[in-house]
Amino acid sequence: MHWGDTSDEGERNLLRAVDSWLLNKQLLGDTAIAGSASLALAVARYCDSIGTESADCFDFRVVRDTASVLDRLPVEALRTNDKVVQRLKSVGVDTVGLLVSLPRTALPARFGTELNWRLGQLLGEVDEPLGSAREQSAIEAEFQFDNALRDSDAIEAATSRLLQQIAKELLIRRRGALRVLILYALEGDVHRETSLVLRLFRPTASCGEMQELAGLHAESQRFFEAVTSIKVIVKSTAPLGTRQRLLFDEACQECTHELVSLVNRLACRVGHECVLRAEPRKSVDPTRTYTLSPATDTPAKRYELSDSKAIRLRQLPLYLASSAPHAHVEASSDGAPLKVDGTCVTRCWGPERIETGWWRGRGVRRDAYWVELENGPRLWLCRDLRSDRWRQAGEFI
């Protein structure tokens, strides 16, 4: 690429181009060209303090006369720590130019060894390699059919091949897929496509696992229009987990293969939002002692509950009513339920009074009872202490 006829013109044009490129990316940056990366960085960072006299901002951003720039460059530009900067200033050395005029041998004893190293970087005497960061390319694979087709078996076979390709790539990168998007482009004048998402309970690079899930999806997938191409994209990955390393490694925190397989298959069958995982959480409010979230969206780590916590959780119904229905309850003078919606209570435990959560908002104030009705159902009833209204918060099944 031709930047200009002279080096000066070329460097100015390069700076302009970089500034403009950054601007196009909606980024603002300070740029400079100098004999060393460190000096360029210093000039770019401290251009305000060294370039105020110049009308053309490029005059000082392209360093030609290093000595004059150093005379104006503050010692902070050395990128050393604040304490060293303070010490330098305490002896009147407030510019790099002044520092350069002193013998280097006298500096380490007074300001530490890092100073000479930084100075060397600035003056181009010490290498300062610049590393580049490269964005990882997406893991994806695509297959174009020569002729659009509707045959499910053929489509499944093509999908399997694509999954094999991405499984290989995942293994190379030592990562496992958590979510895989499969796009089917449909025949027609307008670009249309249908898709399915494989959600995995545990990161995997196993082609078999992915193929199995894709197969399960395919069972319910009908293609009413011909498919022209298939694209498989790995949307989310995580490092591959370690399997049991030792023969009797009982402390292994990974869930069993069977469980993983079960969760994956269930999620495929009934929808991932229906396969939930309970995570323990600390709270005095029983309804907050665990959270439920899609199993395929949460890390597949095992956890164990202490006896008391397990007992506590067992005291709660498995399903809590998300919006608990009101219940008509006749209660005794001390508040215990006697009848629920006209049905007599045969056994009752409680109340458990919960008054907490005020710092989250309105807070909770309720008495909870475990009751057994004469016709069998066992309910978890809550009485709101503010409104004195009863709700059927859950039922034991």
Binding site: G92, A106, V284, D285, Q315, W349, E355, W358
Partner: protein, 1057 residues
């Protein structure tokens, strides 16, 4: 009679629902209850708990703070007022056994409980307690005990518990609607049966009402160092049931085991002890075996009188002594006076300057004992004013000691009486606005920087009526959910005790073991032990304390005397200073009083040209008149008018004339206000004192109205007119909390005169002694030095060849100069100074290398000297010295081969010479002052451009001119009586300017006013009787004018209230 109202002044209005007091009584006594003296555990004040218990009709309430008896005196006072039986106990956390609640049945068991707590506290660090089961067993006699088990399924140690406490052992059970209370109490009942421990109900009470639960949650989170959210499920209670519950609730909860409730009464009935049984007795060993304390006191007094009046004791004094000794005998205070005499005798024997003050100190007896120097022959102070038979309160003598040597006196007392019989009174450190915001904000989950910004936005110590606005200013919307929660929590938290600290000097000594009267614990300071009660607690129980206070001015005066003597002057003492020197009073009248005792504040200096003191008693008045009491009571102007003969003195009758004549008919002293209530309204001395306390402690409208009616009715009945009565009442109101006693003013005035005399006759000596006694007083070293230079004193810089640790005097011919000492150098220290001075004793240092080799100071110490520019006599400037110091190894051992190698000869000349401005800033950074120039001087040109005047040019401007000045903020002062006005002193290169900032202006410029160190202000100039003030209407920060360096000058402005 203890005054419970003193405990009520710190609390927000209670939001407890008003429950009609159930005076019929319920068969229940709460036996396990924490006050907020179980720090960060209890969420109610003792009086709130007592009041609520009485409202609920409880038979009794036991205060059982964890490992502490700190809250019981307040509870005792509240219980007496409420007519509730109070049981004294504690909850003991044992390191090797279950938690046990113990209750004292009688005086002896109470003494054992105190001893037990003392044992646990003394073997642990401050605030902690280490007790074992064996300790409890050792002191168990007479104590009732309740075992606390969280899970009845896991009992352990119950058999030994039963064995030790026998029929005094119980099993406690609490029910808090935990879901399966029936099963819980059944399990406890079974355990009770198996272990043969009677089951007793309790509430495990942490607060008086359920509405305090959120506050308790916050306190719990603070205690665990987490947010409330994080504490949920770990440390928080599930509900707000740890409160005092009505009988209906209790009877329902324990309906299956009603005996558990009935047994609380059994325990209450077994506890007979009340704090009223504590009898304080003075130490008795101060008199020889063959003399009674009275005989010994009488002998010492008359011997002292002989020394005080070598030419014969004046008849007036003889009469006074006989009268006072008779009164002392009648009231039984002889041992108390001997205690004070013993302290003073010890201090004198060690050369420690001291002086007594207070209600009994200005007696003829104390003068003869050497406790005070106020000569009864010269004053008209009446002993009855200081010791009242009727008031029945202990005599009050405070003894001020040199602040640098007060510790010797305290340790003498510990040695003499032993740790079991002597201890410092405690001080309860309570939540103030800033600390409440910090802790509550963190607990509620605010970010660290937000909490920091909020806390810096408010004054540290008081409730701020504009707190909501302050919150908004830093981005916390007070109407938001989190803003409201924080405001509520802070409001509740203010006044809550946070921890115990030590009183400034109140020492308690007893004849018997003090540790059987109150628990004693370790203070944070080494070798200090404190009793768990504060001064109000002690006073309400009639326990004597002697205040051994630290007074910096006494140190300065003693150092003045020594410096004068060392420099060939006379040997002065407080007693031998020439009295009533007119030149000294001339100086005082000019308000030339920077640095002297008491009359150095802005307000005092403004008063001096108006009051124009000309004798000792004028100083007594001067000390007392510039106080909130007389100011609020509107007594200052009438006094000045009468003094200037602009107004006639009038007295309604002879009795009133006798009280007020010496202050021209205007009550100025606290004693006068009380006496006025007696002679004008017929109050007894005791009633007058109650009136003062009522006004001081809690301005309850109902109570005040009662006193007002009694006072005015009394005056009318004595033939005084209504207007006079109303005026008197208003004046008395002012005295309530803020009146200054004549007895203190009289002693202070002596030190005022002494410090003024020294400043006038020996300005260099005075400044030197003041610098060597820092920190003390109103002014920073830079202002003291500046004042000395204004008085012609040559002040020389810190120099390695001439400076000692302390500032010194250097005499040349007849001139005496002041040499700044190494103590002024930041981060140098006394040990390093000693090394340097010892190394220099052989000969002066010849170079910085010579100094380093001979002193072997560390690199850091050499750098500190270099930063202070202390190498002047070696011809080395600051930067050169710093360069040289930086080149040294941390220790010579690090690089033995390079010791003595010089690499800087060629470099040093290349270092740029610092500008004068930089030198001045570096001086301030290292020394806190500069002898070279003032930071403002370098910006004068810019300031002139803004039309900013210098401080000295204000003299030439007229009253009412609108002017601008700039300077460093030396001090900010907002007296409680000034209705929110802040007095600020600015300093520029020509002098100081006094500013008056009204609240409106302060609020308008709040952030600058509070945080900036350098201001440009404009406003209206006010000239009044030689005093110039600027009434500020605008404040700008000098930093904002691009002079950030000025704002960063290290001056440590002094902020007072």
């Amino acid at each position: 009679m203890p005054d419970p109202s003193v405990y009520q002044k710190r609390r927000a209005p209670s939001a407890t629902p008003d429950v009609q007091a159930d005076r019929s009584g319920v068969p229940y006594a709460e036996l396990r209850c924490r006050t907020n003296f179980s720090f960060l555990e209890g969420a109610s004040h003792a009086d709130e708990l007592v009041k609520r218990s009485a409202e609920l009709g409880y038979e009794a309430l036991a205060i059982t703070d964890r490992n502490s008896l700190s809250g019981i005196v307040r509870a005792h006072a509240a219980a007496k007022e409420a007519g509730l039986k109070l049981i004294i106990g504690a909850e003991l956390s044992l390191c090797d056994a279950m938690t046990t609640v113990v209750w004292a049945t009688d005086r002896r068991s109470y003494g054992r409980l105190c001893r037990l707590l003392t044992l646990g506290r003394r073997r642990a660090s401050k605030g902690e307690c280490k007790l074992s089961w064996e300790d409890l067993a050792d002191y168990s006699e007479g104590l009732l005990a309740g075992a606390v088990l969280s899970d009845p399924a896991c009992p352990s140690g119950l058999s030994s518990f039963r064995e030790v406490f026998s029929d005094r052992a119980y099993l406690l059970v609490d029910l808090h609607r935990g879901g399966d209370d029936s099963a819980r109490i059944a399990a406890f009942a079974g355990l009770s049966k198996r272990s043969d421990l009677p089951l007793v109900a309790c509430g495990d009470v942490h607060y008086h009402s359920t509405y305090r639960q959120p506050l308790h949650d916050v306190l719990t989170a603070i205690r665990h160092g987490v947010t409330v959210e994080e504490a949920d499920g770990r440390a928080l209670f599930a509900n707000g049931q740890r409160h005092l519950r009505p009988w209906d609730d209790l009877s329902r909860l324990f309906r299956s085991y009603p005996d558990a409730l009935v047994r609380t009464i059994e325990i209450a009935d077994r506890c007979h002890f009340t704090l009223d049984e504590l009898r304080y007795e003075y130490p008795s060993e101060l008199s020889p075996d063959d003399r009674s304390p009275l005989e010994w006191l009488t002998q010492l007094t008359w011997e002292g009188a002989g020394r005080r009046y070598p030419r014969g004791v004046p008849e007036k004094v003889v009469v006074l002594l006989r009268h006072e000794l008779a009164l002392i005998k009648k009231l039984g205070y002889e041992a108390y006076f001997l205690t004070v005499w013993d302290l003073v005798r010890f201090a004198r024997s060690k050369g420690i300057l001291c002086q007594g003050r207070g209600s009994a100190a200005n007696s003829a007896v104390c003068y003869c004992l050497g406790v005070t120097s106020v000569d009864p022959a010269r004053s008209e102070l009446l002993f009855e004013r200081f010791i009242s038979e009727e008031r029945g309160e202990p005599p009050d003598i405070d003894i001020d000691f040199e602040h640098e040597r007060r510790e010797e006196v305290l340790q003498y007392l510990y040695d003499k009486y032993g740790r079991d019989r002597a201890g410092l009174a405690a001080t309860v450190v309570s939540y103030q606005m800033r600390s409440a915001i910090r802790d509550a904000g963190t607990a509620l989950g605010l970010s660290v920087d937000r909490v920091d910004a909020l806390s810096k936005q408010v004054d540290g110590w008081s409730r701020d009526p504009k707190i909501a606005e302050r919150f908004a200013e830093v981005g916390v919307d007070p109407r938001s959910a989190i803003g409201k929660r924080l405001l509520w929590t802070v409001e509740q938290l203010i006044g809550f005790p946070r921890h115990l600290s030590q009183h400034v000097g109140g020492m308690v000594m007893t004849r018997g073991p003090l540790c059987e009267m109150a628990p004693i614990e370790n203070a944070a300071m080494q070798d200090r032990t404190v009793v768990q009660w504060d001064k109000d607690d002690l006073e309400s129980l009639g326990i004597l304390k002697v205040d051994c206070l630290a007074l910096g001015m006494l140190t300065a005066i003693r150092k003045c005397f020594e410096l004068i003597k060392e420099n060939g002057g006379k040997r002065w003492s407080l007693a031998t200073l020439p009295k009533e020197d007119p030149a000294v009073y001339d100086m005082i009248c000019r308000a030339d009083t920077i640095g002297v005792f008491q009359i150095e504040s802005r307000a005092q200096m403004s008063m001096l040209p108006r009051l124009r003191p000309r004798c000792y008693y004028d100083l007594v008045i001067e000390v007392a008149i510039v106080r909130p009491g007389p100011i609020q009571g509107d007594m200052v102007h009438p006094y000045l008018k009468r003094r200037n003969r602009e107004e006639e003195e009038t007295y309604p009758n002879k009795q009133i004339k006798a009280v007020l004549e010496r202050t021209l008919g205007v009550p100025i002293f606290q004693e006068q206000a009380m006496k006025l209530a007696e002679v004008a309204a017929g109050f007894t001395p005791g009633e007058a004192d109650q009136l003062r306390r009522a006004m001081a402690a809690w301005r309850s409208p109902v109570k005040m109205e009662l006193y007002r009616k009694k006072l005015i009715d009394g005056m009318l009945a004595n033939g005084l007119d209504g207007a006079f009565a109303e005026r008197c009442y208003r004046q008395l109101q002012g005295f309530g909390e803020y009146g200054f006693p004549e007895s203190h003013a009289a002693s202070f005035a002596l030190l005022v005169y002494a410090s003024c005399w020294l400043k006038h006759h020996y300005p260099a000596v005075f400044c030197c002694a003041m610098l060597n006694s820092q920190p003390l007083g109103f002014y920073s070293p830079s202002q003291l030095v500046r004042d000395a230079r204004d008085h012609g004193v040559e002040v020389r810089p810190v120099d390695v060849n001439y400076s000692d640790y302390d500032c010194t005097l250097e005499a040349e011919a007849s001139e005496i100069s002041l040499r700044l000492g190494l103590r002024m150098v930041r981060d140098f220290g006394q040990a390093a100074s000693k090394k340097l001075v010892e190394a220099r004793s052989a000969r002066h240092f010849l170079s910085s290398d010579d100094l380093r080799c001979r002193t072997r100071l560390s690199k850091r110490q050499l750098s500190s000297l270099a930063d202070a520019d202390a190498f002047g006599s070696l011809g080395v400037n600051r930067r050169q010295a710093v360069w040289h110091a930086l080149g040294q190894s941390e220790t010579d051992d690090d690089q033995p081969l390079f010791v003595g190698i010089r690499d800087d000869e060629s470099i040093i000349p290349r270092l740029p010479v610092a500008r004068q401005e930089v030198e001045v800033f570096e001086d301030y950074r290292s020394l806190g002052l500069s002898l070279k120039s003032h930071p403002l001087a370098f910006h004068r040109e810019m300031l002139n451009g803004f039309g900013v005047l210098t401080a000295d040019s204000l003299q030439q401007r007229s009253h009412g001119d609108h002017v601008a000045v700039a300077g460093l903020v030396l001090l900010r002062q907002r007296p409680g009586t000034a209705k929110g006005i802040t007095f600020v002193t600015l300093e520029d290169e020509t002098g100081a300017t006094n500013l008056i900032v009204y609240p409106k202006t302060w609020d308008k410029h709040y952030r600058i006013a509070k945080c900036s160190q350098a201001w440009i202000v404009s406003g209206e100039l006010q000239h009044a009787e030689g005093v110039i003030h600027l009434l500020v209407d605008s404040i700008r920060s000098l930093d904002s004018q691009g002079k950030a360096q000025v704002g960063s000058v290290r001056i440590a402005p002094r902020n007072f209230r």
